[in-house]
Amino acid sequence: MIPASFDYVRATSVDDAVAALIAGGEDAKVLAGGQSLLPLLRLRLTYPSVLVDIGPVAELRGVREDGDALVIGAMTTHHDIVRDPLIAQHSPVIAQATRLVADPAVRHRGTFGGALAHADPAGDLPAVALALDARFTIAGAGGRRSVPAADFFVDYLQTAVGPDEILVEIEVPKLGDGSRGHYEKFSRVAQAWAIVGVCAVVDTDGGWVSAARIGLTNMGPTPLRASAAEQALAGGSAHNGDVHAAAALAAEGTNPAGDLNAAADYRQHLARVLTERALAHALGS
């Protein structure tokens, strides 16, 4: 549990950080809250030559409104997300899911953007970002670009963020009056990674579901959308029977891995059960 040696650069602005990453070459790594990276370093599972610490970059912290969207700075800690009034007002599902991330100590240091950029398939927040149709602002030498959630999560621990880029902020649409979300997490102990997690966001109109977006945690190398279930829900009723039938499609097209906690078939079963529960919560039934 002793990391190999590395160089450390303390960045004070986004440009500063990007410059340091370019200078550091291929083995440079961004250090955000450090809650995933430090264990990897200590177990010598990764050997970066340079760590670029973006902790001091003030512009990366905080939540602001931008028209119909909320813009969340990548370095906003889980702790701050949970207590943020704008998030509570416009997208409470983010706070509800973040409350389930690890334990209080991790939530005090871990960051929203760090969790998304690390893209652990068992992490809770990628599925939430996916279900919310978030957009990701990425800064690099050529300026900034915006990537939709559907294109952001590329593979196991891989995102659209390039080696000399950093994730700057995440934009999520404000949820309107008829829209509600819920994240349902299943783990064996409270502070563990999700065995399976489901984030359901539904737009309702009276007793009808006009649209549903369902993000799945740990059902593949990246977070996935439960498209078959979403389609079954869209335009249908919010009655229990219809929700149950739609949830039964939640694992369709998934090919989850098996591990100590769950074989693939059990994971798929959990995805169906949790989808139904997440939908029931979101629909207030």
Partner: protein
């Protein structure tokens, strides 16, 4: 030191002399005093071994085998020596002449197979994590970096992972021994065959005690400080057993015992895992001697998971013979116990301790016990909280419930029918133990009252009737255990390498303050507080005026250390006995000071007075000062009222209790939630109820952890795949219910304080209570057992298989052939 004391005799004397109390009249024993230790622990002003720095300190790092079993064809440390900061690097061969073989002090049978256990492997590695080479560097990071430069060539040998396969002796862990069988230890009480012949029902079950990994908060650590010119060594170690360690280090390294001082500074938990003599302690000592410089080694958590002992790991084939009315006639136990690759300090004795506990609180005519120790290419097992008794208690409490179900009798009624009645104590059990005291009826009645048993039964039926997705299960554990590990002659008859006595000294300081020197070695138990309460009451001094000294073979030279819930019942009682001796010496001085006859001096509340004229008195502090001055002592009296006591108890102590657990199982996911848990323990008289409460809570957490969460899993190549806290699930506060605890008090008759041990009771009792509840919830689905831990996936699969009309037997246990591997762990692909 002085002659041993007869505890029973002293008990009578104390009963005659009446209760003593502190100067303000408040009896300390029984009060929830805040722990003296905590202020420094919670403010970080501690001496954890890893906090110790010494001038010129070097850091040692250990290269470990990545293979479960292999021949070492080459070890080359030359490149590591050239790395920055490196002072030395050694292979096993380099140090073999000095290292010796790690000790096993419990050869359970005369023909036990006892392989050499080199602290650094020389010819073969036999588990992943077996130490192969060490690097010593100026910095800890430099040492860790240099490990990567050591070259080792291995020729793979077949791993041996499954106990039943191992017993076929096809692939051998120790090829020179010709077998993987370590020992067969038989025991018979009464005549099991005769009892079985009379039986109307015979029930067989196979239970699996999964392998567990002790997780003490503080990792292991050792610092060795040599004084080369004098050939003297101070060994600081995060150990439970400084005294035993000193003896063993002397025996293993041939450094003379009187040249070794062992100190256990603040130690952060052990649970048995620090009741051992480890390779790194021996290596650090030998390396420090070679280099003439102080050396430190601290394990990382993942390193410790491989290289610190594991616990449990048994296959239990249990057979119970009974009449249809529920009367038990006999019990047969056939154990296979995984030793791991080598025998650590008391490895073979752990399952043997269970031999006396399978019969538990029940009367029967015949008992048969067989235990086969088996070598595998895994981390050695040894004592883990409860050590043999949790395994035994689990088996008997599970099969008692299964027998009740088989016979259609309420599971509590079948226990009542068979347990020893309170008026039958002292009672000699079928396993040859004499239980001095107990009242199972009282503890059970209290527990049932707190639990609301009948109401829960009603709710269970309602949930079953309406096919509620959340099912309720109720589990019972009416347990006893044996702790104190004494008397010495009994340990001798079990071939245990040491005695079961404990030492205490009391030093009366000139200013009236008191030093209590104990041979116990607390590592979280709060002896500093409890021993102060005992001494304060006995001597009539203030709690705050007592300091407890422990854990250093220089300042506390005599001791047997802390394990097996022995500290209070042996060490704490020894403090009390030493205090009685102090009073007797002080009485003589006081009589002289008061110009009265010794026989006319009363002692109460810290004050000696002349019978009939209480105004003529001297406090024990007055006496201490007068003795220090020594100007006018009784003729022929030595100028000291200090006293030592060494207690070898007359018997084990037998705490007992009734634990009741209600679980809710989400049948859609298989998740088990403990809804309520009632623990009524009878641990005799209580010194500090708050410390007792803490012990019970922690014990429950660890027992529940075995039932629902923890399991060491190896893959087919013998890699520990639950090698960190990410994969080895230790529950934390949010995962546990609010416990309802209470006590009944049936004083032990085997010691003058009437106390029993409490350190392991919660762990021993809770695992079967939880598992009985889990299985109870699933009975409607045709389930009658679940492999531990009852993970959500295992529970879900049991429901699927049961309700689809498949095998009626348990999920996980049917085809189980031995120790946990990924292939049999139930969830892995």
């Amino acid at each position: 030191m002085t002659e041993e004391l007869d505890a029973g005799l002293v008990a009578e004397q104390i009963a005659e002399s009446g209760e003593q109390s502190s100067p303000d009249g408040t009896r300390q024993i029984g009060q929830a005093r805040r722990r003296k230790e905590d202020a420094k622990l919670i403010t970080g002003q501690t001496r954890w071994t890893d906090n110790i720095t010494l001038p010129g300190l070097l850091h040692m790092a250990v290269l470990r085998s990545p293979m479960a079993h292999a021949r070492i064809s080459r070890v080359d440390v030359s490149a590591a020596i050239k790395r920055p900061g490196v002072i030395a690097a050694f292979s096993g061969a380099d140090l073999a002449a000095d290292l010796g073989s790690l000790p096993c002090a419990w050869p359970v049978t005369a023909d036990m197979v006892h392989p050499d256990h080199p602290p650094l492997a020389t010819e073969e590695v036999r588990y992943v994590g077996d130490a192969v080479a060490v690097v010593v560097a100026r910095g800890r990071y430099q040492a860790a970096d240099a490990l990567e430069a050591i070259e080792v060539e291995y020729e793979p040998l077949p791993p041996v992972l499954d106990m039943e396969e191992a017993l076929k002796d096809e692939a051998l862990v120790h090829s020179d021994k010709g077998t993987n069988k370590c020992f067969l230890w038989p025991f018979d009480g009464g005549d099991y065959d005769a009892a079985k012949a009379k039986a109307e029902v015979v029930l067989k079950r196979r239970f699996i005690q999964q392998r567990l990994i002790p997780t003490a908060l503080e990792p292991r650590c050792v610092v060795v400080e040599p004084i080369a010119a004098a050939n003297e060594f101070t060994v600081y170690s995060a150990t439970q057993i400084p005294h035993i360690l000193r003896v063993m280090l002397a025996l293993v390294t041939s450094i003379p015992e009187h040249k070794i001082r062992v100190i256990a500074p603040d130690v952060g938990g052990g649970f048995g895992s620090k009741l051992n003599v480890y390779a790194e302690e021996v290596i650090a000592l030998v390396v420090a001697k070679r280099l003439g410089r102080p050396v430190k080694w601290t394990e990382s958590r993942s390193e410790g998971y491989q290289a610190t002992i594991h616990g449990r790991d048994q296959i239990q084939d249990i057979e119970i013979a009974a009449k249809r009315d529920g009367t038990i006639l006999g019990l047969s136990v056939d154990l296979k116990a995984d030793m791991g690759a080598y025998l650590q300090l008391v490895t073979p004795g752990i399952p043997i301790l269970g031999a006396f506990m399978f019969n538990s609180i029940y009367k029967m005519e015949g008992y048969r016990f067989r235990c086969t120790g088996v070598f595998t290419t895994k981390t050695p097992t040894d004592a883990y909280r409860g050590a043999g008794r949790p395994e035994a208690t689990y088996a008997i409490e599970r099969i008692m419930t299964e027998l009740a179900v088989e016979l259609g009798i309420d599971p509590m009624e079948i226990r009542r029918k068979n347990w020893i009645k309170h008026e039958e104590f002292p009672y000699e059990t079928i396993a040859g133990m004499t239980y001095d005291s107990g009242n199972y009826e009282a503890a059970t009645d209290r527990a049932m009252q707190l639990f609301g048993y009948d109401e829960l039964l009603r709710e269970q039926q309602e949930r079953r009737d309406r096919h509620d997705p959340v099912q309720l299960g109720i589990g019972i554990s009416t347990f006893t255990e044996m702790c104190g590990l004494a008397p010495s002659r009994v340990l001798g008859s079990l071939s245990y390498g040491a005695g079961g006595w404990e030492a205490a000294s009391i030093r009366m300081l000139p200013t009236g303050k008191v030093e209590v020197v104990t041979g116990t070695s607390p590592h979280g138990q709060g002896h500093g507080t409890s021993w102060s309460q005992i001494a304060a009451d006995a001597l009539g001094v203030a709690f705050e005026d007592v300091e407890v000294i422990h854990g250093d073979t220089d300042s506390a030279p005599m001791g047997m250390d802390t394990y097996g819930s022995r500290s209070l019942v042996v060490g704490g009682v020894a403090v009390h006995l030493a205090a009685q001796k102090v009073i007797e010496k002080a009485r003589r001085v006081a009589a002289h000071m008061l110009e009265a006859d010794e026989g006319d001096i009363d002692f109460a509340a810290g004050s000696f007075s002349v019978k009939g004229s209480p105004e003529a008195s001297k406090t024990i502090q007055d006496v201490a000062l007068a003795t220090f001055a020594a100007h006018d002592l009784p003729e022929g009296m030595e100028p000291s009222i200090n006293a030592d006591a060494v207690l070898d108890p007359e018997n084990f102590s037998f705490p007992h209790g009734t634990h009741l657990c209600a679980v809710e199982i989400d049948t859609e996911t298989g998740f088990t939630k403990i809804r309520s848990y009632v623990a009524v323990d009878d641990i005799g008289n209580v010194i500090n109820p708050m410390i007792v409460e803490g012990q019970v809570h922690g014990g429950l957490a660890q027992g529940i952890a075995q039932a629902l969460y923890e399991e060491a899993v190896y893959d087919a190549e013998g890699n520990l795949i639950t090698g960190s806290l990410v994969d080895y699930l230790v529950p934390a506060a949010p995962d546990l219910p609010e416990f309802t605890t209470d006590r009944t008090v049936t004083a032990a008759t085997s010691n003058p304080l009437g106390v029993k041990g409490v350190g392991e009771a919660g762990t021993i009792a809770s695992t079967p209570a939880v598992m009985n509840a889990v299985v109870d919830a699933l009975r409607p689905y045709g389930v009658n057992d679940i492999r531990m831990p009852a993970t959500p996936e295992r529970v879900w699969r049991a429901i699927q298989e049961g309700s689809s009309g498949g095998e009626r037997s348990a999920a996980g246990t049917v085809s189980y052939g031995g120790a946990q591997t990924a292939a049999t762990a139930g969830g892995a692909e």
